[in-house]
């Protein structure tokens, strides 16, 4: 009897979890391949005809291929800001972990604030206008860097504490300059935490809605999340296209998730537990 139990609880848990966690995604996928009139019934029926390609092309063509532009913008913001984030936060994490200075206290307080406090939006907009970066990709990228630095540094700092100092000293004795120790010796060793960082931050930045809404208005600046928001009001009578759009927006994180499941889990927990 004993050996049956894990299967029984497992089966029950699977059934409940399927109801609660899978059903909404199935619902999205179903509506996305229906015709306009079928989708408007919002029910769980299978589609009479499968219009996957029709709906897909319709969503891409909407508003002069706005979704294509949005994918381009979102990808650009994500890739560039994650790259800058990685480099800068590895540098800060490294020195914070290795060298005791008064600046560490300052940095710790700043870090803590960054994790906790919401940004002051209107003053930031004012400032961005002042320096000419409002409504620009550069501005958006720098904002994403600034807002996500704290979490990145946290991950790097705790990982660097596991790298023995002997390595630094050995490199120093071999005549390496400080810059070289970091870039040649330490940085390559940070690969595991770098992968975690890439995955966690790119999902966060790709999915970000609030910051582009505030700092990146304008038709030519749309991001993927903003198209979804715009389509919401535009497609209230065309649920099939709205849900096709949701489906498309869900796919990139899904792919990342399939490939990097383990790193995401490691990153989320270590960052969270230390924070």
């Amino acid at each position: 009897m004993r050996s049956v139990r894990p299967y029984v609880t497992g089966a029950i848990a699977l059934a409940v979890a399927a109801m609660i966690f899978v059903m909404p995604f199935v619902f999205v996928a179903l509506q996305a391949v229906k015709s306009k009139s079928e989708a408007s019934r919002l029910d769980f029926e299978l589609p009479g005809q499968w219009l996957f390609w029709d709906n897909l092309t319709a969503v891409f063509k909407a508003r002069d291929y706005q979704l294509v532009l949005a994918y381009f913008n979102s990808t650009l913001i994500t890739v560039v800001s994650v790259t800058i984030l990685l480099l800068l936060s590895a540098m800060v994490g490294y020195v914070m972990q290795r060298r005791r200075t008064v600046w560490n206290k300052v940095a710790s307080v700043a870090l803590f604030m960054g994790l906790m406090m919401p940004p002051a939006v209107v003053p930031t907009i004012g400032l961005l206008q002042e320096i000419g970066l409002f409504k620009t990709m550069t501005g958006m990228i720098l904002i994403q860097v600034a807002y996500n630095l704290s979490f990145s540094i946290l991950l790097y700092r705790s990982f660097i504490s596991t790298i023995p100092r002997d390595l630094d000293e050995a490199a120093l004795i071999d005549g390496a300059k400080p810059r070289q120790i970091f870039f040649r010796v330490i940085l390559p060793l940070l690969k595991p935490v770098t992968v975690t960082n890439i995955v966690v931050q790119s999902i966060a930045i790709f999915n970000d809605f609030t910051n582009p809404l505030y700092y990146l208005p304008g038709k030519e600046n749309v991001t993927v999340q903003l198209t979804l928001y715009n389509f919401q009001s535009m497609y209230t009578s065309q649920y099939n296209l709205l849900f096709m759009n949701i489906l498309l927006v869900t796919i990139p994180p899904l792919i990342v998730f399939i490939f990097f499941n383990r790193q995401i889990v490691a990153g989320m927990t270590s960052g969270a537990v230390k924070g």
Partner: protein
């Protein structure tokens, strides 16, 4: 340490490594945060700011719908944080036990954490449609009249909170799983030998020993709940009426309406709220950690 001593050797850890990050963070995060304290005291159109003292705050606290936003923020944060903590712990206990398809179930529970909040918001808005939404259609089939999840002013905030829990419980579960893994199995073995029931084991061993993880989950979800904007905006836009407005949506609405000073005052109130709630928890937690 003495200043007169010449530095014999440069540290291999250059301080200038701080500089690029400090500039970006300082200019784009710290400067606006600090200057918000000043701008919240002004009537402001982004080019000229006229000092008006605490008028914005007075206005904030004298408008019933703005105060409602403040109260809603607290309700929302406490409700989501409480539910995420309880459900997360129970799920984590279930998913660390001996159970079929454990890995797959963990994945399933965690996946919504990674999905676009706006996408989830729209999906649930449709599923919560009062007459056609599948939630109410299903309830009706079972003979239960479904409520207007998002159209009933008394319910809208809680409906959004439920979706927030649905989306975020996976992260809480993950943190609890990590916390549970750190508990030595010896305790449970000893308890079993002493004849403790499962329930006793949970309350006497699991619950006290998983406390660090609990504090992390509570703190994180409280911060998230207090700052929450996108899900609420996607699902109700603060409506019906102002029934599901929170500070973050008030800040956005005042910004859209061009009341920049008032909007910034909302931000300052949110800072204060977060500091007042989170700082004591964190300090208490850190003190305990030092003691241990």
């Amino acid at each position: 340490m003495t200043e007169t001593r010449p530095r014999s050797r440069k540290s291999p850890y250059p301080l200038w490594f701080f500089i690029p990050a400090a500039i970006i963070y300082g200019v784009l995060f710290l400067v606006p945060t600090v200057s918000s304290l000043w701008f919240s005291l002004t009537r402001w159109d982004l080019s000229t700011a006229e000092f008006i003292g605490f008028e914005n705050f007075q206005q904030f606290f004298s408008e019933p719908f703005l105060v409602k936003g403040l109260v809603n923020t607290l309700i929302y944060a406490v409700a989501t944080s409480g539910l995420k903590t309880v459900c997360g712990l129970l799920l984590a206990v279930l998913l660390t036990g001996n159970i079929f398809a454990r890995g797959f179930l963990r994945t399933l529970v965690f996946f919504p954490v990674l999905v676009s909040t706006i996408g989830i918001g729209i999906t649930f808005t449709v599923m919560m449609h009062p007459t056609r939404g599948i939630i109410n259609v299903t309830l009706e089939a079972l003979g239960i009249p479904g409520p207007g999840w998002l159209t009933n002013p008394a319910l809208a905030l809680f409906s959004v909170a439920l979706v927030d829990v649905w989306k975020g419980v996976g992260l809480a579960t993950l943190i609890f799983i990590a916390g549970l893994a750190a508990i030595s199995p010896d305790y449970y073995e000893a308890a079993r030998i002493d004849g403790a029931t499962r329930l006793q084991q949970f309350f006497r061993i699991t619950l006290p020993l998983v406390r660090p993880a609990t504090l992390v989950v509570v703190t994180l979800s409280l911060i998230g709940g207090l700052r929450s904007f996108d899900l609420i905006w996607a699902m109700t836009r603060g409506g019906p009426g102002f029934s599901s407005d929170v500070i973050a949506s008030v800040i956005y609405k005042q910004y859209q309406a061009g009341f920049y000073g008032l909007s910034t005052a909302g931000n300052v109130i949110l800072f204060a709220l977060i500091a007042v709630i989170i700082l004591p928890i964190t300090l208490w937690f850190n003190r305990r950690e030092v003691e241990e």
